[in-house]
Amino acid sequence: MRRLYAAIAVVAAIAALGACGGDGDVGAAGKLTWTGDPVVEQPRLLPRDRLVSGRVTNTSLRPVEVSADDVRLEDADGRTVPGVAIFSDTWAKPIIASERRQQLPREELQRIGKLARIEPGAEVPLTVAWRGRDGERAPVRVVYGVGWLPLPGGPPVVVEE
């Protein structure tokens, strides 16, 4: 009986660490999910632009570390859609002027949302944005290296300034 329980525990542990579920993890290094529904916005002044902003939680047992520069947007065919990502839900400004920034320290990258290290169970804000172009399909997912998040569809909230 003890061996059976041990086997069950091993299987459960593997299941917890492994890539299960509809969010499409491709590896065992971490798993992020949206916490609640992200907001989809369209600035009135930029009718082709879309922002998706929400909070993501690390539901795995390992830390997830992601650089915003490594986050990609993909359409339904797996093609990259040009866009930007930032682990922030408001405006943050780097302490060093833009053109002086060869390599910011890690802590500064985290402060301004260019880098996120998310401990198991923790959550961080995430905002992605893209500019729609003719002939290009809208992105349907955010790929963050070791996994991906679905992007919500539906009409955006038009935001006046």
Partner: protein, 522 residues
């Protein structure tokens, strides 16, 4: 405290590993002087030893000046000239001396030749949180020209952080303002640095071409910056930091990649005392006419901030700035208008990708992204008074007021996340109304993220046919709400990707409207 934010946001804060901050542009940790031990210096016509500095062509320049007191005075001083470079005179000076600059161009060649990475001070650095290092004050003393063309270092080799040996110095041009030019080399960070130089007076000259600050005043108790033209710094014209008992007056500031003037980490008077007075400043054609991170205790009056990208900004956005969160600036009787300068167009995108030294000196490249078309921006601040100003023809916002979570400046204390923006009062301003002529409306007169306690608008005047236009449509009258309003989340979200701005890699961030020049309002 808004429930949505409190549950998810604060939970995130508990687990995010964000450190306390680094100094701005890797500056050493700085401290406020005790304002009770200092005072604002006056411009003197006598006292101390007069040390006259001139150039080889000063005589010809004086002869070419129009007849008048400035020429007469300069002529009379020619025979007393003993120094070729300003730094020489500073080195020779004792407290109370006056350094008189005859007409000429001062390039400070010996300072230019001094190495930036002098081995004599390589170990005289402070290791700051976040991985930065900065020269200590002792490092500045050991290598005064590593970062500065002219360095006035007032504190002796003791631990008191107070001026001992070059106090109450006055450096002034003897001609007209344009007759004395102190010219940076675009490589040294600062043209003039006054560091613990209590009582410093800088008066009547033109300064240009620093890599960082044309004039930099740090930890100085008592200063007067008067009658100065500052232009074409890569970042700041005049920057003061953790300094008190100061005056900026009759300053013309233009062509700077960051701010024309920057009173940062200002005096901590908490609305009972305004330790720095700024008056009769004309600041234009900069990214920001005025900027002040932790710009506390500043009284700005009778000045004009116009034709910048954003006219005035104050904020609580960065670590490493003593005096956070920002509080108690007072802007009265100023003109804040026509701040619609577009430095983010395709031409600037192309030119500003070039290395700095390959660009013409006069070409302004924005060091930061701020919203085109904004008059006054408070991004995390408390207790600011905006009164009796003319705020017009700013095509995006006349006034923009928003919250800044403390985590952005590295403060993890959950109780402090909503320590801004409260008690900001806007009264008696003329919105969309220039002093004369027809109305020149702002895009929106007021944009507010609807967050905070005690923010209020009363007795502001707008053109009758248009009225005051704001978002939200109704603004609280003074004294404002006694409870903390939660804020409008979509409004805050809408500017998040502006933080991804990079003039080389991402000059036009998707989702960020700030680089879109607003159209003329009707």
């Amino acid at each position: 405290m808004p429930r949505l934010r409190s549950v998810s946001f604060l939970a995130a804060l508990a687990l995010l590993a964000l450190p306390a901050g680094a100094g701005a542009h890797a500056e050493r940790t700085a401290y406020f002087p005790d304002h009770r031990l200092g005072s604002v210096p006056e411009i003197r016509t006598d006292g101390g030893t007069a040390r006259v500095v001139c150039k080889a062509d000063s005589a010809q320049r004086i002869a070419a000046m129009p007849a008048g007191p400035a020429r007469d005075r300069s002529q009379a001083l020619l025979g007393a000239c003993r120094y070729e470079h300003i730094q020489e005179a500073v080195d020779a000076a004792a407290s109370g001396d006056r350094i008189l600059l005859l007409p000429g161009v001062y390039r400070e060649e010996p300072s230019r030749a001094a190495p930036d990475d002098d081995p004599a001070c390589k170990d005289l650095v402070e290791r700051l949180p976040g991985g930065w290092t900065a020269l200590t004050y002792e490092g500045q003393r050991a290598c005064p020209q590593a970062q500065n063309l002219v360095a006035i270092l007032g504190d002796g080799p003791d631990a008191d952080r107070r001026c001992d040996e070059k106090c109450q110095l006055q450096i002034e041009g003897t001609g007209r303002r344009q007759d004395v030019l102190i010219e940076g080399d675009r490589r040294k960070l600062n043209v003039i640095r006054a560091d613990r130089a209590d009582g410093i007076v800088l008066h009547n000259f033109t300064v240009e071409a620093s890599d960082f600050n044309n004039i930099y005043v740090l930890e100085t108790n008592g200063f007067r910056l008067s009658g100065i033209e500052t232009r074409w710094s890569r970042e700041y014209g005049v920057l003061t930091f953790t300094s008190d008992n100061g005056v900026y007056e009759d300053i013309e500031a233009f062509g700077h990649g960051d701010s024309g003037i920057y009173p940062g980490s200002g005096p901590e008077g908490h609305c009972k005392r305004y330790g720095i007075l700024i008056q009769r400043v004309n600041s234009y054609n900069n990214t920001l006419g005025y900027s002040g991170t932790a710009g506390n205790g500043i009284h700005v009056r009778d000045s004009s901030f116009h034709h910048n990208v954003t006219g005035i900004a104050t904020d609580s956005l960065f670590p490493g700035h003593p005096g956070m969160p920002q509080d108690c600036a007072k802007w009265e009787n100023n003109q804040i208008h026509s701040n619609n300068l577009d430095l983010y167009d395709r031409e600037h995108d192309r030119m500003c990708k070039k290395p700095y030294l390959q660009r013409p000196l006069e070409y302004v490249c924005p060091a930061i992204l701020v919203p085109i078309g904004t008059g006054l921006l408070i991004q995390g601040g408390n207790g600011n008074i905006t009164r009796n100003n003319r705020i017009y023809n700013n095509r995006r916002f006349g006034i923009r007021l928003a919250w800044t979570p403390a985590i952005l400046r590295g403060v993890k204390d959950l109780r402090k996340q909503y320590d801004t923006s409260h008690e900001n009062v806007f009264t008696g301003n003329f919105m969309g109304l220039p002093p004369t002529g027809d109305p020149q409306p702002n895009g929106l007169d007021v944009w507010w993220d609807e967050q905070g306690r005690g923010n209020c608008w009363s007795e502001n005047v707008a053109p009758p046919q248009r009225g005051l236009r704001s978002s939200p449509g109704t603004l609280p009258r003074c004294p404002g709400s006694r409870t903390v309003r939660p804020g409008n989340i979509p409004k805050a979200l809408s500017v998040a990707t502006c933080a991804t701005f990079d003039p080389v890699k991402n000059a036009d961030p998707p989702g960020c409207t700030w680089t879109v020049p607003p159209s003329r309002p009707r």
